[in-house]
């Protein structure tokens, strides 16, 4: 297929408003790539520009040239250049997109997906040459531009508005920001949505967009230590995730489980059995809390530190440690048959049973004070008599009754 033929096919797809067909024609992975490659040997940007620029309606001349060059560069495994051409293609496409309505969205999704794939491969290539990676950052800017063009549709009829692409495109932008570690930029795009009352409510969008958006909202809330919001967002994502994406469900649970653990709620054994990676990550913490083994908990914290830090959940597990300690106190109280006063040396002895062999009494007292402060124990310490005076009513409240607290 010559480039002229490709242009003709594009014209037909445009005339019939066939966005999926148009997407296929602009995909560098579609079967037409081989014919296009063979029939345009040795083409370069210069030769193609002098031959085609202006011959096809703008921006399709640019789109076609860039598309052919993407194919040529990927055949050469030159992903750095392939990405640059794909970026040109998408930028040119966006100039057309901004004149159109919702019908063109399916084409946009394919182009942004392929842009991200090539950006990733481009960065891998740059990295292997010891150069600074830049493709994914650039792709984030282009995706952001696409998102903005969806938000700012002020001319289309409501049912036909590009605004129907707002959530799917913002999800792509957020994915980019998480990838390049620029989550601080996320607030800007979220504010752009919240500041625009014309955007239909999230519930009106496809469920895939809702689940993905709320997953990222949950992650952003976690970074802000807003645990209440994080739990609500991730719970929605967990309960609405599609069955064909167990991998996504695993990602959601990776962050929802420690949030629930902070409330004393553990995943059922069958859930952990279903996701071995989550069993590896959380199983030891859970069994050690149940057994009242604080030292075992600490050992797991040391062993799993790298992964927990990488996932940004280390801090949450450190907070869960308070539960482990408070359960030791509760076990002690139960073993003593629920007295109304517990001598601090008894709690001290319980911590020794929990593995804290070298702990001093003063340290034990300090941990009791913390448990009281955090609401795990209702009562007060009489320091002079070394007694913990417990509330008559429910001195060790159920963990679930103790609401999540942000930041604490």
């Amino acid at each position: 297929m010559k480039l002229e033929n490709l242009a003709n096919h594009i014209n037909v797809a445009l005339k019939s408003a066939n966005a999926p067909k148009l997407a296929t024609l602009l995909s560098y992975q579609d079967v037409h790539k081989d014919g296009l490659f063979v029939n345009n040997p040795g083409a370069s940007r210069n030769s193609l520009t002098s031959r085609y620029a202006g011959k096809l309606a703008s921006p399709w001349d640019e789109v076609c040239i860039a598309h052919l060059l993407v194919i040529i560069h990927t055949k050469d495994d030159n992903y750095e250049e392939a990405y640059k051409e794909e970026a040109q293609l998408v930028n040119a496409f966006l100039r057309y997109f901004t004149t159109q309505t919702r019908w063109l969205l399916p084409t946009l999704w394919l182009l942004l997906a392929e842009l991200r794939v090539l950006a990733h491969q481009g960065d891998v290539a740059l990295y292997s040459q010891g150069k600074a990676t830049s493709c994914c950052e650039d792709a984030a800017r282009i995706c952001n531009k696409a998102f903005t063009l969806c938000v700012t549709d002020r001319t289309s009829a409501p049912a036909e508005s590009r605004k129907w692409g707002v959530y799917r495109s913002v999800n792509i932008v957020l994915k980019c920001y998480f990838k390049v570690n620029r989550t601080n930029l996320s607030k800007n795009v979220i504010r752009a949505i919240e500041a625009n009352p014309d955007i239909p409510p999230l519930e009106k969008f496809e469920r895939s967009a809702q689940v993905t958006y709320r997953y990222y909202q949950g992650l952003l809330a976690l970074l802000d230590e807003n645990y209440i919001k994080a739990e609500a967002e991730l719970t929605f994502a967990c309960e609405n995730c599609h069955w064909s994406s167990p991998r996504n469900q695993e990602r959601i649970l990776t962050f929802l489980i420690p949030l629930r653990m902070m409330k004393g709620s553990f995943p059922a054994a069958s859930v952990l059995a279903r996701f071995p990676a989550l069993e590896d990550l959380y199983g030891r913490f859970i069994s050690n809390i149940k057994q009242g083994n604080v030292v075992g908990f600490d050992q797991a914290l040391v062993d799993l530190e790298a992964r927990l830090v990488q996932l940004n959940i280390w801090l949450m597990i450190v907070k869960v440690r308070e539960i482990a300690v408070s359960r030791v106190f509760k076990k002690c109280w139960l073993a003593l048959q629920k007295p109304s006063r517990v001598p601090i040396p008894a709690f001290h002895a319980a911590l020794k049973v929990a593995g804290e062999k070298d702990m001093q009494v003063a340290e034990a007292e300090c941990l009791v004070a913390n448990s009281i402060f955090k609401g795990y124990i209702k009562g007060y310490i009489s320091h002079d008599t070394q007694l913990v005076v417990l509330s008559k009513l429910d001195p060790f409240p159920k963990l679930g009754a103790r609401a999540l607290r942000n930041g604490l």
């Binding site: 960065d123 995730c241 069955w243 139960l334 073993a335 941990l367």
Partner: protein, 107 residues
């Protein structure tokens, strides 16, 4: 507000963590190259309540004939008030030791 749980052990963990982060920041942006941890695009865009992962999971695990609630995924009652014999026995041993420190010294 002072956090009284910040024992010596916690502090040493924080230090280790800080060192680790410093090490990481000196490396090139390897994170960009990891694809594994990404939330993937759903293959379908719209689905019914019965087609969620949770609904399918509850159905397959036979939780009350498909009428299972998402709450079945979570275990909240592990913290019930059962006295554990093992823990009680060990606790009594520790308390006995604490009550007679001179014995411990002799042995």
């Amino acid at each position: 507000m002072a956090d009284s749980s910040a024992t010596a052990k916690d502090v040493s963990m924080d230090d280790k963590n800080a060192e680790k982060k410093a090490e990481e920041s000196q490396q090139p942006q390897l994170g960009v190259l990891e694809e594994d941890d990404e939330f993937e695009e759903f293959a379908v865009q719209e689905w019914k309540d019965e087609e969620t992962d949770v609904a399918k999971y509850l159905e397959q695990s036979g939780a009350t004939g498909g009428g299972g609630a998402p709450s079945h995924l979570w275990e909240d009652s592990w913290d019930d008030d059962d006295v554990e014999e093992d823990f009680s026995v060990q606790l009594r041993e520790e308390l006995a030791k604490a009550a007679k420190p001179e014995d411990a010294m002799v042995s």
